[in-house]
Symmetry: C2
Subunit: 233 residues, 2 copies
């Protein structure tokens, strides 16, 4: 049992904002961690001293922020999650549509950002990062050998590269890039040839990284992303 960390809220801003802020603080402060269940709506309503409707609006904002998920049913209720990156990616999609950003602009930015990430990975990647990348490529090659699509595994390669840069900002940026890439890709079917080419590029990139051939790795990366762009339609 976890007690009642919530006090009745004062009325400065809108009530649901106060409630959302209070719950958010308990999540960011690790009072509850991802996976744990928050109290039900009625319970929260009584603890905060507000109506269920107010609680619902607060939970809506937290849900959209990617801090919680809500399940119906008897064992349901608000559960702490950390899908903030996906939420950021969704907002970027909105922004792209509002600003009418082209696939060319996105690809250009992606090339530049991933070059930066790769550059940092050259400086900061440890043995463990190399091993993770090796395993990823091996897994992808195994799938290709069975003529299966290795989409998720290929996404993971770039995430691992970002993690090897040792900068969590790049990890976040890479996740948003993945979200947008995933959205663009979802409009056109993924064919086997594209997957196979990507895996080959990843393998060459990893080899260049291991043998410390920076310029070679950069040129492979740029060509790889340019090839990915062509698969969008």
């Amino acid at each position: 049992m976890k007690g009642k960390p919530f006090d009745p809220i004062p009325r400065g801003k809108r009530a649901f904002e106060e409630v959302a802020g209070a719950i958010k603080n308990t999540i960011l402060g690790r009072v509850w961690s991802p996976g744990e269940r928050l109290p039900s709506e009625t319970e929260l309503a009584s603890q905060f001293g507000v109506s269920r409707h107010t609680i619902r609006e607060a939970l809506r904002t937290l849900e959209l922020s990617g801090l919680i998920a809500i399940r119906t049913g008897v064992a349901g209720g608000p559960v702490v999650k950390d899908t903030i990156m996906a939420s950021i990616g969704n907002l970027y999609l909105d922004a792209f549509q509002m600003e009418k950003i082209s696939v060319e602009e996105f690809t250009g930015a992606r090339q530049a950002i991933e070059k930066v990430i790769l550059d940092d990975a050259f400086d900061n990647a440890g043995q463990e990062d190399i091993e993770n990348l090796r395993r990823n490529v091996a897994k992808a090659k195994a799938l290709v050998a069975k003529r299966e699509i290795a989409k998720d595994v290929n996404f993971e390669f770039h995430s691992l590269l970002a993690r090897a840069s040792k900068n969590k900002v790049f990890v976040i940026l890479e996740k948003t890039i993945n979200t947008i890439h995933h959205d663009l890709r979802s409009r056109s079917p993924v064919d086997f040839k594209t997957t196979k080419a990507a895996v080959e590029a990843h393998e060459m990139l990893l080899d260049a990284l291991i043998s410390k051939e920076r310029d070679k790795a950069m040129s492979i990366l740029v060509k790889h992303i340019a090839a990915v762009r062509k698969s969008y339609h």
Copy 2:
């Protein structure tokens, strides 16, 4: 008068999600543009054939996404806005707290990204961009001469640089960087010396840009951002 672009909604997903999606499409599709007022909650409720409560939850999500703002009072109601960048910035702040991202990591990423932006600005900046940057620096120098804080003007310099890169993705990224920077800065008072140093760095950077001294500009930029980091505390 603008008619009634909304049809009664079917019940597949949650009702408020359908409503939010429908309204979002009208905004992204420019049926309404920023500044225009959407119908009131009761009006929307009757058009969609749902309760006002459902409409309110839908509007909440759109508000948090930065697509609309809501004002109370007789001339109030939901107004179309485009503050998506601010929303993205806020989510990044959450992510930073969840992942415990350090100021050093943020600064490192900022240096790398702004270097990329500057590099593109060297290739793509037109005469108009140079003029805008010139005017910005002149305005900032005038404020410094009066010993005033030129915070907003200094933010604008980096935005103008992003625009000169001719890639809207960088414009968006720069806005999120500004939001985070603004949050970090808001915790410590802005002193005059920092502002003055920033303006001087901007002027040197612009000179190097005009005289096409790429390496010099890069080194000025990196030092400038490092100096900004020290002003956070």
